[in-house]
């Protein structure tokens, strides 16, 4: 291999940080959910990369399970967003300050 797996894992670190940036900075609930997907995908890339490093299947299998779980999380997240959309006009998380203090 010319490109050693470490580079893939390092890339996953970068992607993870970008995803975190989305969660920390964005106000649109949908985009925040997308950002969480990016983070989980980055973790997957790390798992897959390390799986290649060790030449074992565990990482890949875990990655596939993470995909299913991430999809589940998205479904619930979108469910809440849709329910919220029935009550409010904006999906701006800054408008959701009913609970505070």
């Amino acid at each position: 291999m010319t490109v050693s797996p470490e580079w893939f894992v390092a890339l996953s670190g970068v992607l993870f940080a970008i995803g975190a940036a989305g969660v920390l900075l964005r106000r649109n609930a949908l985009v925040v959910l997308l950002s969480i997907e990016i983070m989980l995908n980055a973790a997957n890339l790390a798992l897959v990369g390390f799986s290649r490093v060790h030449g074992a299947h565990d990482g890949q299998v875990f990655a596939i399970m993470v995909m299913a779980i991430a999809a589940s999380e998205v479904v619930v997240g979108l469910g809440i967003v849709v329910a919220l959309s029935h009550l409010r006009r904006e999906l701006d998380t800054d408008d959701m300050t009913e609970l505070h203090g």
Binding site: A42, V61, M65, V76, E98, L99
Partner: protein, 558 residues
């Protein structure tokens, strides 16, 4: 040819029972009518009871490495299961009356059962894969449960906040797991400990796993979701979440830190101590000016997480037994407090504030003592949460802090005890309201004005404020019918029983501490100090036995 995997089904018995129960409840709940509602309730209670019985019956049966190393079912796991199952049982009782109007009954119960299933898997996880899957199973179920309370507009908000912050922390935990896997080549919790390749990757991974679990126990500075979600979710869900989630997450934290990352204990002990201090400070200080009861309990739960972490610091000594005892005590007193909050909410038809407690500790003229008993239970739970002797809360703190002092963390115990002095200010407010104030309508109303609106549905085109401004209702903005006030005798009874349980735990702490000792021995290998102490106790015990033979133990003073 794929080799047939070995499946030790009994090792995940409680999870199987609850999973099957969840599906049954879901199916039966599709029907309509009050009869179905009753059936579903009974069925889910039955499922939980059977699972609980199963767990208790097989408490000491340990299975390591079941399902090819995915499950380690031991005493620690069983303690977690018992707490989660009991807490779910109580939460189901709490939630028995909710959501009766829309003809769908199964989901609440199915979700609670699934969550318990996930918690069981989580706490019995033998590998990081099953740990993560279990975590996500109960987390996702809880996200839905939080958002499910149709009577409160804030419920959806709390669900979304929990989901997003929970997703963030899950991702962190997952990435940490990946790093640990990368360095050690295994997902096995025990296997990680044996890996010789320990470097910066393992350390970073361990820190991220620690962080992710600290989020679940709602320790500060990962506490941000706690007050809002506690307030926004329905009270049965809050009660379930605050006890079951926290307990299993703590036990898993103990498992992971003391096995996988035992070689890194020189690093995680100070970090855990730091998180404990932050939690104690943030939780106790934050709770001081709260008036919304559930929010107050939310902050209190952050502080309690801090105290529990103090016990974890003394893991090599008596920390784990202390932690187990404290978790059980914490669960009992918190559930007891929430029971009374729920009774109040039912009575008022809205959220409860401190002012609503005023004067409820008194026996109304001409009524029996029983009327004031639930309030007395609340007072006991508050005292216990404050850690005032001779309640169980006092003893659990005593054991936790003692473990830390034993481990050379006297300063931490000092901070923790100071924190509990601060906490007196708000726990005593509960007592003062109950027993020292007269009920005051105007005051209660003033307090209630600060509550989140009871599910004000804002119409797409209108804002209620416009209406107030212009004076004419341009856009009809109806409120969801406010909950009809009523009594909740069963919940009150459960609350009283829980308060009584905290008293029992105070006066007969031994069996529970023994559970903790078993759990500790399950975690750490033979020769750990728990067994040492027991040996020492046997020698010491014989002399006390001899002394006990004569009623007057004559002992020299000097």
């Amino acid at each position: 040819m794929i080799p047939k995997p070995e499946l030790q089904w009994l090792a995940i018995g409680p999870e199987l029972i609850t999973a099957v129960g969840a599906m049954l409840v879901l199916l039966i709940g599709l029907g309509k009518g009050a009869k179905v509602r009753g059936t579903v309730l009974v069925l889910s209670l039955l499922t939980l009871a059977i699972a609980l019985g199963f767990t208790i019956a097989r408490f000491h049966v340990t299975t390591y490495g079941a399902f090819n190393g995915q499950v380690d079912s031991d005493e620690l796991a069983n303690v977690g299961r018992i707490i989660a199952l009991s807490s779910a049982l109580i939460a189901v009782v709490f939630g028995a009356r909710g959501r009766s109007d829309d003809g769908r009954h199964g989901e609440f119960h199915a979700l609670v059962l699934s969550a318990v299933c996930g918690m069981g898997l989580f706490v019995a996880a033998g590998s990081f894969v099953s740990l993560f899957v279990g975590l996500e199973l109960f987390s996702i179920a809880l996200y839905v449960l939080c958002a499910l309370d149709a009577e409160r507009a804030a419920s959806l908000e709390s669900g979304l906040k929990y989901l997003i912050l929970g997703g963030l922390s899950s991702a962190i935990l997952l990435y940490g797991t990946a790093l640990v896997y990368g360095a050690t080549g295994t997902f096995d919790i025990a296997g990680v400990a044996e890996a010789s390749h320990r470097g910066v990757l393992v350390w970073t991974g361990a820190a991220m796993v620690l962080g992710g679990l600290a989020f679940k126990v709602s320790a500060a500075p990962m506490h941000w979701w706690t007050p809002d979600v506690y307030e926004g979710a329905g009270t049965p869900v809050t009660a379930f979440m605050s006890t079951a989630t926290k307990s299993v997450a703590f036990l898993v934290l103990a498992r992971v830190l003391t096995t996988s990352f035992a070689p890194e204990s020189d690093a995680w002990v100070p970090v855990v101590a730091g998180i404990a201090v932050t939690s104690i400070v943030v939780g106790n200080v934050g709770a001081l000016i709260q008036t919304h009861l559930k929010r107050l309990l939310g902050y209190s739960s952050i502080a309690q997480a801090g105290y529990l972490l103090v016990g974890l610091v003394g893991w090599e000594g008596s920390g784990i037994p202390a932690l187990v005892y404290a978790l059980i005590v914490y669960s009992a007193m918190t559930l007891g407090a929430f029971a009374y909050v729920l009774v109040l909410e039912r009575d008022l038809g809205r959220d409860a504030t401190l002012a609503d407690l005023a004067g409820r500790g008194w026996i109304p003229e001409g009524r029996s003592v029983l009327v004031a008993l639930p309030a007395f239970g609340m007072a006991l739970c508050a005292l216990s949460l404050a850690g005032i002797p001779p309640t169980a809360g006092f003893f659990s703190k005593f054991a936790l802090f003692g473990a830390a002092v034993d481990h050379g963390y006297a300063w931490l115990a000092f901070v923790a005890v100071l924190g509990s002095v601060v906490s007196l200010a708000y726990y005593l407010r509960i007592l003062v309201e109950l027993y020292m104030h007269q009920p005051d309508e105007a005051r209660a109303e003033a307090f209630a004005a600060s509550l989140p609106a009871p599910s004000v549905a804002i119409d797409e085109s209108g804002d209620p404020r416009d209406e107030v401004m212009t004076g004419e209702p341009s856009h009809p903005v109806p409120a969801t019918p406010v909950r009809t006030p009523g009594r909740a005798p069963v919940i009150a009874l459960v609350g009283v029983l829980l308060a009584a349980a905290t008293l029992v735990l105070a006066f007969v702490p031994e069996p529970v501490l023994d559970l903790g000792c078993d759990a500790k021995m399950a975690l750490l290998d033979v020769g750990s100090s728990c067994t040492d102490h027991q040996a020492a106790e046997e020698t010491g015990g014989s002399s006390t036995d001899a002394a006990a033979a004569s009623p007057e133990d004559v002992a020299p003073v000097e």
